[in-house]
Symmetry: C2
Subunit: 249 residues, 2 copies
Amino acid sequence: MRVRARVAYHGAPFHGFADNPGVPTVAGVLNESLGRAVGEPVAVTCAGRTDRGVHALGQVVSFDVPDGTDLGTLARSVNAQCGPAVFMADLVVAADDFDARFSATGRTYRYRILNHSEPDPLLADQSWHVPEPLDLEAMAEAGRYLLGVHDFTSFCRRPRTGRAVEPSLVRRVEALSWIGPDGEGVLVLEITASSFCHQMVRSIVGTLVAVGQGQRSAADIPAVIAAGDRQAAGRPAPPHGLVLWSVRY
Amino acid sequence: MRVRARVAYHGAPFHGFADNPGVPTVAGVLNESLGRAVGEPVAVTCAGRTDRGVHALGQVVSFDVPDGTDLGTLARSVNAQCGPAVFMADLVVAADDFDARFSATGRTYRYRILNHSEPDPLLADQSWHVPEPLDLEAMAEAGRYLLGVHDFTSFCRRPRTGRAVEPSLVRRVEALSWIGPDGEGVLVLEITASSFCHQMVRSIVGTLVAVGQGQRSAADIPAVIAAGDRQAAGRPAPPHGLVLWSVRY
């Protein structure tokens, strides 16, 4: 039977989500612990393949287990094997054709910036430290240009497919908002799209922060999008500020 | 000349603060990086010797460096060598008799509890996960019995001194308050005392949480104090929820 589950994890101990024999990955520890629990090989599919260092609180996975498997027992077994860096919850039996990746209709990510003159060792592996003051109004204005349907080629690490026709990098950004900063200088970007191409959130954050630092203007963003060239956008923000927050089905 | 500085650190990579040859400690990396920067051996003294896994945002250290050492350059050198797990700031020249430990008149610690049915991998190494609902009113009432001057023998891991007269474990708790829980279930105990004996905050937290879980009553606390016996108090809370928050001089 097919199972759907939510997974939270700290990205630091892993070389990303995707299974990669010989290195610790989130899929690797999930497959291994699920397989040990049910007594046969299990291979999880995820809604968003996070890169090395990226975290998740609302990742969703699907996988097959023998009919009749008790999901409460399965969750306890997986969590006993994978904790505390990984936590699996909300296991339910899904339709046979449910696929965590292809059935998803939207993904929300959060990116955390520590905008304070001093770094904070307790946030070092879960935020990007930007010590300079940021022009929040300009960053909000720049973000509004990204809303809607665009070709995000300028903001994506294009996969090398080798195909004659490259896959589309057109995406719909449904929502983009800044939360904070709170009293400790923590500023969060929340962004929702139908789906994201590779490094898209990090490239958007890098570009918007460059606007906030005055290195480029908010009004430049339409031209950055139109360029269809990765060199036009800012450098991607580091992975450890990024959290896959939730997935919509 | 004597220097005073504030130090923040993540406790996870270290076997506690105190220098201990052969294992990574906060004092070890500070001594090594300061020594490399000034070209002679340096030995830091700290306000509160934190245990393995305990964090600090407001630890204070004192140490001697050659007269005329530029403190801005020294801070940059130390931070380049020690980051991102350790950060040193606010370096000032202190009086020759200033001692980070003996000159301190008060210490404030914060202890973070994640009081939520689910663990959070992003908080796993900086909070104690207590999934059961807690009776916050009973915990606040229990805390009030600890205010003021008491012999905290029941809440301390007594040092083995081998001396005929054991050192006093009488301390003055000046303030104790609960902050939160916030929307994510994070509940913080803030506690200030002239000084703390070993494992005192963690033993207090363990005892107050036992009250919150209904395992003991708030009204029992005076008897726990009076017992002068470590078995009378609750088990110490785990170290990774604890943060040395600030030191008063």
